[in-house]
Amino acid sequence: MAAVLAVLEQRDGALKKVSYEVVTAARGLADGLGCGVDGLALGPVSLDVTAATKFGAEEMWMIGDDHAALYQPHLYTRAVLDRIKAKDYSAIVLAATAMGKDLGPRLAARLGVPLVADVTSVTVDGGIVVTRPVYAGKAVYRLKITAPRCVISLRPNSVMAVEQSRTATLQHAVLPMAEDGPVARTTAVKAPAEAKLDVAEAPIVVSGGRGLKEPGNFKLVEELAQALGTAAVGASRAVVDAGWRPHAEQVGQTGKTVSPGLYFAIGISGAIQHLAGMRTAKVIVAINKDKDAPIFKVADYGVVGDLFEILPRLIQEIKKVRGAA
């Protein structure tokens, strides 16, 4: 009988939060299709997948091998294909992360099946129906998959992970041998000096723009992010293009599309391409000196004025609130 396969993702032996979202989405899909869910996780020997067994899968397959500690495209592809040989999966669900955006197309091409990438919802309505934002979120497709099998990548933060009463049984598998032929090999992951949350994954994003006037003033944005706790620093295209901030922080059509629970736009006027990248945030706060700035049209809460006066007060108040909590 067919089933849905959820492919999990880890970093340094710990599962990423988006993995639970992927299993939850796979469970919802499987319920619609009337079938089961299996999970598959690859990682180092120290990988612990116990936490992922609570999100509705029946079987949780694990490949713990230090050769799979880093994302190795050919080995990960082979491992998923091997699992699919063992069982007839009608959908393969993975996260639309740096890994999933690479692995998804490989699987779809090898299997000769459609890929729907970076989807924000998955339902069953006479077939698998997904929504996927395009033009960086300026428009949204509703697509129906007419193939008997497909690959789906899920945008982080678009499905809330929900624990279920069922606990998956743990299954172990071995890492497949490397295929003959030339392959790309990941040799290292360079981490920044201090671990930083990624804008695409963080539950809170604090973004700064031209209104900060100079790169050094971004420390105000960083301080606000720090005061908020689990927050990442983001940036507008203007300041990335000006070399103030790295591209990894850029939010917008040529940067990242984000859906955090809370988004702060600080000194960002709100160009169309920026709004496209953050409009799916649940709550948007804008601080800008121009009361007519387009950012206020999408913001839930706006404060007009000089950010250099507003931010210190905001940081202080948030520290107070969080200190008391």
């Binding site: 740096a98 459609p114 729907v116 395009v134 007009v304 507003i310």
Partner: protein, 250 residues
């Protein structure tokens, strides 16, 4: 170095999207189309690699309607040598039929490198280049933001969440370019004039039937109108209050 660069014609990122009457595509009237921004990095990288090698050829390949000739000419104006348009009026919401058509053209082309942009800013699939690599059985690194090539081998860096992956691979290979890989050049007038005379071959292709059906293309739901809480630092307490009790996010 013989290098292929696959490019796409897309609406400019500042375009305000309107939905066409069919409810499944965008209204293209009045839309300015450009060479996909990520493909600019791919074209630039190809030109630099050819220049560094001192010899070779940069071939620009596009898939799309006749209007994509203009997109190819932009890349030729940057300095590419010749273009190939795989001409079709068909569209596919599934990237696989597109990848198959491109792979069929690239196969047997004896390319040392095949470059793509990491994604097209219209459909956002982030897939075609990687699919082409798998279809051709070539090593592939996606979203490359730094590249070293020497002696038939390459070392690429790609941004991942909270870090940078270092990936090593042999040539020939397929790479997809991210922002940061280089600073694309603007076509000079001389380049624009020269581009008009460069060869551009038009080959009609028929896409395989995809297995994804477009039910609808719609504008995203409008956000509920928000409100200005006040001016200056005095508005901060009202903001904190709203975030705590109304939005419940603090």
């Amino acid at each position: 170095m013989k290098i292929a660069v696959c490019v796409k014609r897309v609406p400019d990122t500042e375009t305000r999207i309107k939905i066409a009457a069919d409810g499944r595509s965008i209204d293209e009237s009045g839309v300015k189309f450009v060479l996909n921004p990520y493909d600019e990095y791919a074209v630039e990288e190809a030109l630099r690699r050819k220049e560094a090698a001192g010899a070779g050829e940069v071939v620009v390949v596009a898939l799309g309607t006749d209007t994509s000739q203009e997109t190819i000419r932009t890349a030729l104006a940057m300095g590419a040598d010749r273009g190939v348009l795989l001409k079709t009026d068909q569209r596919s919401p599934d990237p696989l039929p597109l990848a198959r058509a491109l792979a069929a053209e690239l196969k047997g082309g004896s390319y040392d490198l095949i470059l793509f942009g990491k994604l097209a800013v219209d459909d956002y699939s982030h897939a075609t280049g990687t699919m082409v690599a798998e279809l051709l059985g070539l090593p592939c690194v996606s979203a490359v933001s730094h590249l070293d090539l020497a002696n038939g081998k390459g070392k690429a860096e790609r941004e991942v969440e909270g870090g940078v992956e270092v990936v090593e691979f042999p040539l020939p290979a397929v790479l997809t370019a991210d922002k940061g890989l280089n600073q694309p050049r603007y076509p000079a007038l001389k380049g624009i004039m020269a581009a008009k005379k460069k060869p551009l071959e038009v080959k009609p292709v028929t896409l395989e039937q995809g297995e994804v059906e477009t039910l609808e293309l719609a504008l995203p739901p409008e956000r509920k109108p928000g409100r200005i809480l006040g001016e200056g630092p005095d508005a901060v307490p009202a903001l904190i209050q709203a975030l705590r009790t109304e939005a419940k996010v603090l």
